[in-house]
């Protein structure tokens, strides 16, 4: 049986160079970067070196990079920090309907704190229309947060255009959640024209526990975690030096081989999309057919349920994921598939195949060997299929 990891979207394996770079800071170089003595030196330098590498990855200055422990923390910091800091100017936020829950739920918390939130819809491919963002803007809007790409359906948003609209038509800050793209696709904060941008190391072969928020110079933001002087006073807490060092190396490696990786993944993705949609009937691609993350394949399969597919795939050695109700710990229908107007029964047939560095044509072809019989088998026992 072949071992196929098709869940790079859940998390990526840290590259050996990344782990190697972390080890010294778990061992001899365990010091606190704030320490003035020699134990603080190497850790402090490691953190600043990583800051430069992350800055380079996204075309920022290093003093605009603030380390966090996750993409979710970066998103919360952006949404809450901008909202709370700028409330005198207004208490209105704009997000899209397909944002990651760390943006959606942070916005919901802001509602509880007296803010108003407008959710911009998406088209059937999950893409935001800049004109809809424009319509949502108000005099009292202080933040617009539209993600760069959605990890559930792969669609890439026209963030540059949206940022332009926000800049021209309002005084709001513009944040983009680039957790799914940074390190995987070219991301340049200046080209995109964003004020804030979130990223997370575990999405591009870096370690867990290390993310970052880019905050453009001059942006007024309140810390999410108050306390000491770490991260220029904007994010307190002893720095997670090993993870930050690992994030730096991951950023450096990603900068170097991003093109190569994209060139590897896009054909694999398109091969898989092509085969899966032509060889199996009543299966539909979700998200945009071309404006999508490299390596990202998401479908809904009619008449059957996602978790059952995952279990049978797993028995064939394939690790994948699903946005079905049953596979969400919260047991709620995916808000993303709901926003696409996919009807809930169909949404429960969601299957997510995310390819990465180690994926090969052989993996794709093996998948297409084992998957059709699984679909058949589940459909044969489905009361819906019979009815159809």
């Amino acid at each position: 049986m072949r071992d196929v990891y098709f869940d790079y979207g859940a998390t990526t394996p840290p590259r050996p160079e990344v782990v190697e770079a972390m080890l010294p800071y778990l061992k001899e170089q365990f010091g606190n970067p704030l320490s003035l003595h020699r134990y603080g030196e190497a850790p402090r330098e490691a953190v600043e070196e990583a800051r430069e590498k992350v800055a380079q990855l996204i075309g920022a200055r290093s003093n605009e990079i603030y380390f966090t422990a996750s993409g979710s923390e970066a998103n919360n910091m952006a949404v809450k920090g901008i909202g709370l800091m700028n409330q005198k100017r207004g208490k209105h936020l704009v997000v899209s309907a397909v944002e990651h829950l760390s943006v959606i739920n942070a916005a919901q918390t802001m509602e509880k704190l007296g803010f108003e939130v407008t959710k911009v819809p998406v088209d059937k491919h999950g893409v935001v229309d800049p004109a809809d963002v424009e319509k949502a803007l108000r005099d009292d809007t202080t933040l617009v947060s539209i993600m760069h790409a959605n990890s559930e359906i792969g669609s890439i948003q026209p963030v540059g255009e949206i940022a332009q609209v926000v800049k021209e038509r309002s005084k709001a800050y513009f944040h983009t959640d680039a957790v799914a793209t940074a390190g995987n696709l070219p991301v340049d904060v200046k080209e995109l024209g964003v004020n804030l941008l979130s990223l997370a190391g575990n999405q591009f072969y870096g370690p867990k526990g290390a993310g970052a928020l880019y905050i453009k110079r001059g942006t007024r933001i309140m810390p999410l975690i108050d306390g000491g002087v770490q991260e220029a006073g904007r994010r307190a807490g002893t720095e997670n030096v090993p993870a930050i060092a690992g994030l730096g190396v991951a950023a450096e490696l990603a900068t170097a081989d991003m093109e190569e990786r994209r060139a590897q993944l896009v054909p694999l993705r398109d091969r898989l999309i092509g085969r899966i949609t032509s060889e199996i009937d009543r299966i539909y691609l979700t998200g945009h057919p071309t404006q999508r993350l490299p390596g990202h394949v998401s479908v809904v399969v009619e008449y059957i349920e996602g978790e059952a597919m995952l279990l049978l795939l797993s028995m064939q050695g394939v690790a994948a994921s699903s946005g079905s109700t049953c596979t969400s710990r919260a047991l709620k229908a995916s808000h993303v598939l709901t926003a696409l107007d996919i009807e809930p029964g169909l949404a429960n047939g969601s299957l997510l195949l995310t390819l990465g560095r180690d994926s090969s044509v052989e993996d794709v072809d093996y998948f297409m060997e084992v998957f059709p019989p699984i679909v058949d088998r589940l459909r044969q026992m489905s009361p819906l299929y019979k009815e159809a």
Partner: protein, 126 residues
């Protein structure tokens, strides 16, 4: 999949009694695709005994395993005995279900009961 017991995985991977009964004496269904789980049970009754029990299931691993387990537990039982089977019994027989699956996927007994009701109401009418 560590969240499922071996017994669940066995019934999921090798579900017993799957299928339809063309000339069923009773049919009952429970759940719906929106929630992610739906089961349809078919029964044959002879002299107050469940001589055959089959089902079709749309749903997660737990839903499929529960259907299979219910069919096994019910087959050969009297109607009264089968009515006494609860979702809880099914979960227990499966050596437990993950907490978050206890309510939404564990509908097999309910669907079976509906099939029996269907049979009984037809019997009364007919």
């Amino acid at each position: 999949m560590p969240t499922y017991s071996e017994k669940v995985m066995d019934h999921f991977a090798n579900p017993r009694n799957v299928g339809e009964i063309e000339d069923a004496d009773g049919v009952g269904s429970e759940g719906n695709p929106v929630c992610g789980d739906m089961m349809e049970f078919y029964i044959k009754v002879d002299d107050g005994l469940l001589t055959d029990v089959k089902y079709k299931t749309f749903g997660c691993g737990a839903a499929i395993a529960c259907s299979s387990m219910v069919s096994e537990m019910a087959k050969g039982k009297t109607l009264e005995e089968a009515k006494g089977i609860t979702n809880r019994d099914v979960a227990a027989e499966l050596e437990g279900l993950p907490k978050n699956k206890l309510h939404c996927s564990n509908l097999g007994a309910d669907a079976l009961h509906k099939a029996i009701e269907d049979y009984e109401s037809k019997a009364r009418e007919g």
